[in-house]
Amino acid sequence: MNIQTFVQSLVSGALTGSLYAMIGVGLTVVFGVMRIINLAHGEMVMLGMFGAYWGQSLWRLDPFLSLLLWAPLMFGAGMAIHRFLLRRVVPGGELNTLLYTAGLSLLVANVALLVWSGDYRTITLSYGAEPIRPLGIAIAVPLLVAFVLALVITTALWTFLMRTDLGRAIRATSQNAEAAILMGVDVERVAVVTFGLGTALAAAAGVLLAPSLYLYPTVGELLIVKCFVIVVLGGLGSVPGAIAGGVLLGVVESLGAVYVSSTYKDGIGFLLFLGVLLYRPSGIFGVGRS
């Protein structure tokens, strides 16, 4: 084992992890406010990926630039999904909502399969062919750009949650919905905005991931499972936990692929997941709610 390989896989793991983190944050915010585990979250990422793809192939739009188009659009779509679909189901209980989003996930993935076919597609960037090599470590350019943008978006989200009134309302609802109502928070509005936010984050992560991954309509299935691993690692409902969980999963997968076996790298994540679920259900940092 040499140090170069170790650092290399650590770095690429952390970069991929930052994107996992973004997907995880979207899921965890929604869970915090609404107690919904949104099984259709992976499909939102998938839609973002296809958005980037079609933006490039139809309008020659740079995938990273198309973020400015798809993120607001999916924010609106998320609000509409909550307003017209989920809101009527949520009072039916956690499990009904879980199954409802499972139905939504199947519907979206299979409509996409129908319209776009199951072909694997890739996005090639003119500036992505050669990796840059600081200190002898190869870093893929698309992944680096995605990492920087993910950092910007996550920081912006953090500032929004900590500094604005709406952000405070979201955090308050997440901590205790009844108390928030008593303090005059419009919980319905908070829920709609949060679902929009979660959806936009997922789609944005999809746009950023698109140049680095194969895209196909059922990719959401793979991502949602990773996403559960992340939010459970960090503690369901906790934003910093999801960020840490995402980076941790990225690093574990990357190191596991190098040092254990590339075929079982996904399995390592799941074992970690089961271990945390069983022994620390509030997450490794103990900040989530079990």
Partner: protein, 325 residues
């Protein structure tokens, strides 16, 4: 058994169907319906009666299907015995899964089962010396079987139909039996309020593990039948999340926790899926997703649950409706 007579009559009637001379396509559709009934009922025992929503039942189906295949292709044990062994193997595998996952509740349990199923799928995909990896197993010829001097013709659909009827009957009758037993009462208590159930002295973990083993046995039988009937098994066919979801949907659309629900759900989904696929050229999963959403939104008790409620509505309530308009 509370009501043996109706069951015997229904099973006998179902077994008489091949004598009416249906085409092999009709028998094929009926076999599919009965196979899905078995799988839906397997999920329903745990998810419907005990309220434990598993997203990983495909793992148990996979264990059943692979056991059947491996026993036949590597040891020469005929698939009809393999199916039973598959059920037993799935029940055995379910014990450690249950002991682990039942420490969690609600959505956390669901997520844990999802992870377990993914681990099983990865094992099926990568443990090549046992499972043939992504290539899977193919049965080229079924062994000869003589029943009372008759050689069974494996080219005909009839023997598979008879097997499917027996499996579905086993699944539904055992659901009915559990529902009417003390165990069934424990399960309802756990479903409605687990803390309260524990407080009145029910050993909830033990009850849930037993129910999971029952559910796993049925799922393993269904998986064994899948291998036996389609003669082909690979990780994508029997271990994917989609299969787990289909089992959930059948139980949910038919009616959670009802005895007849899985049969109704399987009939409805299979029939309409055939029509959607044949007439509109759409993938049937689109339809599954949509019907799932519609049922939860407008009919959370499922089709069978709704019909049952309308039929058994107390007289007084009916009179009130009649009087009050």
């Amino acid at each position: 058994m509370r009501r043996a007579a109706p069951w015997v009559a229904a099973i006998a009637a179902a077994l008489l169907v091949p004598f009416a001379g249906p085409g092999s396509f009709v028998l094929h559709v009926l076999i599919l319906v009965l196979m899905w009934t078995t799988l839906g009922a397997a999920w329903n025992v745990l998810g419907g009666l005990a309220g434990q929503v598993s997203f990983g039942h495909a793992a148990l189906v996979g264990v059943g299907a692979y056991t059947t295949m491996i026993l036949y292709l590597k040891l020469g044990i005929a698939p009809w015995w393999g199916m039973l062994a598959g059920g037993a193997a799935a029940a055995l595998v379910s014990l450690p899964i249950g002991l682990l996952c039942f420490r969690l509740r609600g959505p956390y349990f669901s997520l844990a089962t999802l992870a377990v199923a993914e681990i099983v799928r990865l094992v099926a995909l990568n443990f090549e010396s046992l499972t043939n990896g992504p290539v899977g197993f193919l049965i080229t010829a079924l062994p000869p079987l003589h029943l009372g001097g008759w050689a069974v013709n494996w080219e005909s659909k009839t023997p598979f139909y008879v097997a499917a009827v027996l499996l579905a009957a086993a699944a539904l009758v055992s659901t009915d039996w559990v529902k009417g037993s003390r165990l069934g009462a424990y399960l309802v208590a756990i479903r409605e309020d687990e803390d309260a159930a524990e407080a009145v002295g029910i050993d909830t973990v033990r009850v849930k593990v037993i129910t999971l083993a029952h559910s796993a046995f049925l799922a393993g039988l269904g998986g064994g039948f899948y291998a036996f009937y389609f003669r082909y098994v690979d990780p994508d066919a029997v271990c994917n999340i989609g299969l787990s979801m289909e089992m959930v949907f059948i139980a949910m659309v038919g009616g959670l926790g009802t005895v007849g629900g899985p049969l109704v759900g399987a009939t409805f989904l299979t029939a309409v899926a055939e029509v959607v696929r044949g007439q509109l050229g759409l993938g049937h999963l689109v339809f599954y997703g949509l019907s799932m959403m519609l049922v939860i939104r407008f009919m959370p008790e499922g089709i069978w649950g709704r019909v049952h409620r309308l039929l058994t509505r107390p007289r007084g309530a009916a009179a009130d409706v009649a009087l009050g308009g």
